[in-house]
Structures are given as structure tokens and as C-alpha cells.
Symmetry: C2
């Protein structure tokens, strides 16, 4: 799910007000280090026994069994993960959308004209109807105002500081704690079995890199995402990259296989997603090649512990990809049934 489609489909008033009310207090980011695969220790303790867990374990056993028909050499064990809704919570709005709204508010005093200029006025007023109506053009203007006009180093600092202070309004937690514990276990389990794990997200590549290593164990060079253009220039004798208000690449839908090919240069053997934005990544991963493949979709079915949404959702719509899952035998995680814990902070 990328912020563009999110905004285009509309934000609820409640959502914006919640985001704007976030309490600014610094917090330590969560350290995500679940136990790696060990003999006799269950590497996936947050996963209930059943067909879903078995399909993952079977796949890993097949590709790692030396001499077996499905053995895959370690260097080809590439696994790609969507981020919003697959590794962390994307409801009630993607975290990057909350960043855009709060950042717009933070910059408003230096931009007095925003009070009378759309889409800024709508963002500041919490006028979600107007904001939604501004569509992709409106989003592009908000992204330009909040994501461009600084160096890459400066932007990384802005993101880190914001994430340290921002809070989700339902759970009253930093966004970096609203990550799925079962998926952290899965990341560690795959890495313990020789996999290289990548994020392939519609979200901004530079928005994720400042914290992806700390919370997921995925280093910056293994993050693929959407980007704006940059320009190289010297400033005070120091080489800098300046972020420009111009889209470079949208890593969503058909963009995901392109991003994978551009950054990784080989076809993954496992891919993990949760929405129609991940459909082509899952097709690209599973519908070709000689070796066995794993496609997995996280189906949000737990309104009590997290959220329940799929075919009709404005954020993270899961419709075509759910049909394709049945057709292509992708594993579908029923969050309510398959996960005994959702977030790391649950006891």
C-alpha cells in the first residue's frame, strides 16, 4: 500500500485528528531479535501449529536439504517482504501518511500561505474530503513539501526524530513497536537458513532505511522502495545529495518486479505481502523458475488484536491477490487463527 492510493481513496477525519494528536515524547526503538532457528527450539513460537506454519517449514526444509531435489544454493535464497501491512501495521493509515500530515503541520508556521493554499489547507484543517479529492496531484505536492528540499542525511534525521516522538493512537505505542512478532520470527528463521531478506515496499526507500536494520535486521542496502530524484552538489566543500520534488520510481504493483530486478538482479524464491499492491511481486516470484517457490499473504482477520480488512478496504485492499492466492497455492495467513501473538509488546 503506498500513500498515493491511500490519499486518493480518502482519509477519515478521525484518522487525521488522531495522527495530529500524537504525543511528542522520545522513546527507544524496539530491538527486534527473536531467537534464530535452533535444533529442538521452535523458531516460530508465535505461529500456531497448522497448515500455514507447516507450509513455511516444509518450504524451508526442501530448499535447504543438500542433495534433495529442491535444494537451492544459499546465494539464491532471496526473500522479499512488503512492509506496510506485512511487517508492520498500516491501519488506520500507513505510517508514512501520518508522517506527511504531521510534517505538514510542523512546517506550517514557515509557510503562512498554506493556510489558504490547497492541498495544504485541507491537510492542516483536517478536511479529509478535500484532501482525498486532491488525489495524486495533491499527494505529490504534500510529498514535495515534506520529503524534498533537504539533503539525504537531513531527511534521515527528520524521519528518525519523528519516529522517536510519534505515537499510534489506538495502542499508544511508537510505530516501530507495531511490528508483527510472527514476521520478525519468520525473518530470523529464514536468515538462519541462509536466506537474504529484503524489504520491497511501495513506501519511500529513504523513509524506511533509517530504522529497517534496527527493527527488522534488514540493512539499508536490502531495502527497495519508492523514491524521489536527487542531485549531487558540493555545499561548503562537502559533497551532498539534495532531494528534489520529482518522482523517481514508484515501487508498487507492476513496479515491484521492476524494483526487485533493478536492486537485486535475481528472482526471489519467496515473497511475502498482504495486498493487491503485492500481486505482481508474488507472481514474479512464484510463477517462473525451476525451483520450488513460496508465496505468502498476510490476511488481516483479527479486529480485536489488530484490524480486520480485505476486499473492500481503502487501505491495504486485498482482493485480486486473494483470488490469485487460491489459484497459485500461495499460503494465506489467517492472522486470528495462525498467530498466537501479534505485537512484540503482548505478553
Amino acid at each position: 500500500m503506498n500513500p498515493a492510493s491511500f490519499f486518493a481513496r480518502g482519509l477519515s477525519r478521525r484518522v487525521l485528528l488522531s495522527a495530529l494528536a500524537a504525543t511528542p515524547a522520545l522513546t527507544e526503538a524496539l530491538r527486534a531479535t527473536p531467537a534464530a532457528a535452533q535444533t529442538s527450539v521452535d523458531p516460530l513460537p508465535s505461529w500456531n501449529d497448522g497448515a500455514t506454519k507447516t507450509s513455511i517449514a516444509d518450504f524451508v526444509a526442501r530448499v535447504t536439504t543438500r542433495g534433495g531435489a529442491d535444494f537451492v544454493p544459499p546465494e539464491q535464497r532471496i526473500a522479499t517482504f512488503d512492509n506496510d501491512g506485512t511487517l508492520w501495521c498500516e491501519q488506520p493509515m500507513p505510517v508514512q501518511a501520518a508522517f506527511i500530515l504531521e510534517r505538514t503541520r510542523a512546517l506550517a508556521p514557515q509557510n503562512p500561505d498554506w493556510k489558504i493554499r490547497q492541498p495544504f489547507k485541507a491537510a492542516l484543517d483536517g478536511d479529509m474530503k478535500t484532501l482525498a479529492a486532491s488525489g495524486e496531484k495533491g499527494l505529490t505536492q504534500l510529498v514535495a513539501a515534506t520529503h524534498a528540499g533537504m539533503t539525504t542525511d537531513e531527511f534521515a534525521r527528520i524521519v528518525s526524530e519523528w519516529l522517536g516522538a510519534a505515537r499510534d493512537q489506538r495502542f499508544r505505542k511508537p510505530y516501530t513497536e507495531l511490528i508483527y512478532r510472527p514476521m520478525l520470527e519468520l525473518l530470523a528463521y529464514l536468515r538462519a537458513n541462509g536466506f537474504k531478506t529484503f524489504i520491497v515496499s511501495g513506501g519511500g526507500i529513504e523513509f524506511m532505511r533509517p530504522w529497517s536494520d534496527k527493527i527488522y535486521g534488514i540493512p539499508p542496502e536490502q531495502v527497495v522502495g519508492s523514491s524521489i530524484k536527487t542531485r549531487f552538489a558540493m555545499r561548503d566543500g562537502r559533497p551532498e545529495l539534495f532531494r528534489l520534488p520529482e518522482v523517481n520510481f514508484i515501487d508498487d504493483k507492476v513496479g515491484k518486479p521492476l524494483g526487485i530486478n533493478q536492486h537485486i538482479g535475481r528472482r526471489p524464491i519467496a515473497a511475502f505481502g498482504n495486498s493487491d499492491g503485492d500481486l505482481q511481486m508474488l507472481q514474479w516470484t512464484t510463477m517462473a523458475g525451476d525451483s520450488v517457490r513460496l508465496g505468502l499473504i498476510v490476511h488481516h482477520t483479527d479486529a480485536e488484536r489488530e484490524y480486520a480488512y480485505d476486499r473492500q478496504s481503502q487501505v491495504g485492499k486485498l482482493d485480486k491477490a486473494l483470488d490469485a492466492a487460491a489459484l497459485n497455492r500461495w499460503t494465506v495467513v489467517d492472522m486470528k487463527r495462525d498467530w498466537n501473538r501479534v505485537f512484540p509488546f503482548e505478553t
Copy 2:
């Protein structure tokens, strides 16, 4: 050095004729596995003792000494290498330029109009003057004709087959054997000391990936280069990426820091190049950040064993970057003085 500037500056007739006369016979690609850094074994045996070798060893010692003032954690030990002229021979023309000319010739029977259409006619006739005059526009047409119109998998196969058969005319070797043994040792030495090694080249990213792991030990996901656009589509129920005749990104000069940031997402602490095309990568790497950095330039000074060229060269021009090296205390390798062997096949 990227093929665009090469062609724009002109090819000699001798060069083209040589390239076209290459004998088509399959060969095994060279396995590049020099000894890694071991206690009491010189990890850089092809490097003569002296200031150059010392500057490399000192840098590695400083960043890897735990508790030392210059210690750099392993995950931040990113090293980027130019390819043409830095890891393999780029004279008398870049290997990819030879590929373009030979591929044009191979495709000529299916394109009878090329006999009367520029720049194809010039490429087929060996009319280097006309080819050079066609400039970047002409090159773009030749790249479109030879690099686009197939899937990514098909292109990788075409490159591999061509490299297996093609021969350099001076040394009568496959191009994959015209790699610098001292640089292979350096790659292995850095990796043995916790570095992640990347190629950052003006050459085509998809032209390098089919063989970079085999000859350099650099996997596809650690190759950054120039690219054309691709399109995702299903063909006979199989997802494919089709290569389009449209430039996506030029990873040369100011493009190198951009490519590094886009793919790697952190600033290297060591960068290795040989021409003005590497100037900004070396600036980006060495002129910022708190930790110690290494910038190194391979200066081609050995006409007998390889080639001697710098400020006036049409291929791999080294002028501004040589001045900048003195100013910024980059290490300059004098190939004749500093390397006791150049190619792996030398005894």
C-alpha cells in the same frame, strides 16, 4: 568510462576490425579466488611493497581495530569499485562497446535495412568516423537495437554466450580473463576484513550481473550500473520483464553517488576508480563523514604489460580526478611500479 562517451569520442578502424575478427569458441570463465587475508600470509602478493600497499593495509588495520579511534562496525564497511579500467581492462575499447559492435553484426541479417541506415551502416562498415559523429544519439540507437526487445532472462543468456565466445585481440584471451589480479586480491582482502564489496560502474547493470559473481565474487545484488527501462507483463502465463529502448539511469560521473545512494543507501568508506567518471564517487566517499576513508585511483602506466593512458585518453580519461587525488590525498596506484603481476594468466 561508459560506452556513450567512448563512441562519441570515436573508435579507431583497427579496433573495430579486431573486435569483429574475434574467434567464436567457448571457454570456461576464469575462477577468481585468490587467497583471503590470513595471518602470516601476504593477502596482497601481487602488490609490490611501498607507499601504495602500505596505505591500503593501514586503512584496513585502522577501521578493523576494535577499540581504536578509527574503528568502523562491519556493517558500515562498504567499498565501491568502478569496473572498466579498475577491475578489468577497458582498452582499446570498453568490453560492452565490443559487445554492441559484434551484436549489431550478428543481428544484421535480420535487419537488411541496416545496410543503408545510420548509425548501423557505419557500425557494419567499420566507418568509425561516421559512428563517432553520430554521437550519443547514434549510440542510443545501437544500444536500443542490441540491448532491448527481449526479456531480462534472454538478455542475460545473450551476454553470457557472447562473453564465452569473444576474444580480446591483443592478448587472445576471453575478456573475463583480462581482470586485474591485484584488484582481485584487494576485493578478497577487504571481504576477509568484513567489507561488503560493490561494483559501481557506468556500464550496463544487466551486462555485468551474469558474470560478476563468478569472476569477482560480487553477487548481482551488489552490482550498480546504468540501465534501460523494463516493463512487467505475462507471456504464455509466465511473468516476464521486457527490456525497453529507453534509458532509465546513467551511473556515471554525478550519477555514481546517486546510484550508490539509491542501491546501497549508505556512504561507502572506501572507493576505487580510474577515470574522471569516478571523480564524484570518490568525492562522495572521502570528503564527508566522521570516520577515516580510503580513495584509490588505478593509474594505467604500463604500456608493456597493459596500457598507458591518462589525461589525453579518449577511453578512460584521467585528468580532473588525478588533480583531485593530489588535493584529497587519494592513493594513486602506479600500475607499472606497484603491481608485480597484472593479469591472472601471467606466471
